[in-house]
């Protein structure tokens, strides 16, 4: 049998979209570089802990699961995010639990019934070249590795010993998200921004992606015009002239010219990253 210089995996199929993601490259916005990184960082960190990796190790972000891979060397893997079926050479295995793959065994990840993104961590992590200190694929800027394709071979780093069991409840996607939002910086562009946000209701649009969760529903009434481009942070709720809000996610542009009515707390962004089109969204303005 052919010996591999390094431990690796071969992608058999990717599902709708499979990306290498770690915790991203924040701190480069002044160069026009988005933060990128896993949309549901909580789930990536859990997956990494389960296989003994540091939390910021690169794993795979799988839109609607669906990935299959072959292990070219033995490794430990864990699948997190929404509950989904995991099989090894056809045998059922657990998600949200470390699973051992022997050389040449095939891992298959099913399509989750709820939620959007599964995360796969592999012991040692995905070893692709870092760009600006991160291995994450940034779909807006084209920084980081290309989206994965069938037959891609990914090298793995040196594994650590798993540090012990985590208690890991699977991510439960919600039918309705009630999202705390802090007004500003441009709430003065809106007539009573707080009431408009509190009384409006939206659904997640199917045009949402890693750049932003696009919401469709109540029109937010705002002043006409544009602001000279200004810095944007992840979680900013930008309101274009059509009044339909966009919540910026990790691959968001670093500057923008539409007013930001409010900012969603970082802790809640993962729920938007897991929200399927049609999920109902309401905002709860807080101080």
């Amino acid at each position: 049998m052919k010996r591999h210089m390094k431990r690796s995996i071969t992608i058999i199929r990717t599902g709708p979209q499979a990306l290498v993601e770690d915790l991203g490259r924040p701190g480069n916005a002044h160069l026009g570089v988005p933060p990128s990184g896993a949309l549901d960082q909580h789930s990536l960190k859990l997956a990494n802990r389960l296989v003994g990796n540091p939390e910021n190790t690169a794993g795979l972000e799988l839109l609607l699961g669906g990935l299959a891979l072959k292990a070219n060397a033995s490794c430990t893997v864990a699948v997190t995010g929404p509950p989904t079926e995991v099989r090894i050479d056809g045998r059922l295995a657990d998600s949200h639990h470390p699973v051992h793959l022997k050389q040449d065994e095939v891992l298959e990840i099913g399509t989750p019934q709820t939620g959007l993104r599964n995360y796969l961590a592999l012991s040692g992590g995905i070893e692709v070249d870092e760009e600006l200190g991160s291995r994450s694929t940034d779909l807006l800027s084209g920084i980081g590795p290309e989206p994965l394709r069938a037959n891609d071979v990914l090298h793995l780093g040196t594994p650590n010993l798993p540090v012990g069991a985590d208690v890991v409840p699977p991510h439960q996607a919600l039918h309705t998200l009630v999202i705390p939002i802090r007004l500003g910086p441009r709430d003065d562009w809106f007539d009573d921004a707080e009431t408009q946000l509190r009384q409006g209701y939206w659904t997640v649009s199917d045009r949402s992606n890693r750049v932003g969760a696009r919401l469709s529903g109540t029109k937010l009434n705002r002043r006409d015009g544009e602001i000279p481009s200004e810095g944007m942070i992840t979680g900013a709720v930008q309101v274009p002239p059509d009044g339909q809000p966009v919540v910026f996610l990790n691959d968001h542009p670093t500057t923008g010219g539409y007013p930001v009515i409010g900012v969603v707390d970082n802790d809640y962004l993962r729920f938007l990253g897991q929200a399927r089109p049609g999920t109902e969204v309401r905002f709860r303005p807080i101080d």
Binding site: G27, A29, L31, V33, I143, E230, G231, M232, I233, V263
Partner: protein
């Protein structure tokens, strides 16, 4: 100067001019604990270390522009852009004069945005301060050098764009794999020379 809240850990500092933006950026750039510091046309977005930021802003002198530039960069340009004749006509002069004006001025990176490594340079001579094209191009080639309003810039990679293009450079402006990925960073001083 107006401080606008931006979530729990960021502030948008709004000022009246690009020179005040530069003053705010310079006053904050060496504070510990800052996660992002993003200058733009009339604002500076700062994330992290908000207590120290607020303290630093209490004593800031917005008329004081940063004395020294961290880096000085020269970019060779081949002045054969598709809009060079239009720019000359709008300025009421000749293509040669446009080149002379563009290469005589000294520019400063006011801010980056739009795409990784896309630097908005101020210091453009008044005759070259011209509007964008009526209809933007769907693809501007990498390295294109253009002007728009009070800014000039070089495109780090092919993107759509409406700037009037006067030339092109073969200099690499952004390489994500390099140790210093962006050639131009806020505060840098820049000159263009004929390649």
């Amino acid at each position: 100067m107006l401080l606008r809240r931006c979530g729990t850990d960021a502030l948008l500092i709004e000022v009246d001019s690009l020179s005040e933006v530069a003053a705010v950026r310079a006053a904050l750039e060496n504070l510990d604990g800052i996660e992002e510091l993003v200058p733009a046309a009339r604002t500076v977005l700062v994330k992290g270390a908000l207590t120290q930021v607020r303290d630093a802003l209490k004593t800031i002198d917005l008329t004081k522009t940063p004395a020294k530039h961290s880096r000085e960069i020269t970019i060779p340009v081949i002045y054969d852009g598709p809009d060079l004749a239009l720019v000359a006509e709008t300025a009421g002069s000749t293509p040669d004069e446009v080149v002379r004006l563009h290469t005589t001025a000294t520019y400063e990176v006011a801010f980056c945005g739009f795409a990784p490594g896309f630097a908005y340079l101020t210091g453009l001579p008044e005759a070259l301060q011209q509007p964008r094209l009526d209809s933007p191009r769907t693809k501007v080639p990498q390295g294109s050098v253009g002007i728009a309003g009070e800014f000039t810039a070089a495109y780090p990679r092919p993107t759509p764009g409406g700037w009037r293009l006067i030339g092109r450079t073969e200099t690499t402006l952004f390489d994500a794999k390099a140790k210093t990925p962006a050639l131009l960073q806020p505060g840098d001083q820049v000159r263009f020379v004929v390649a």
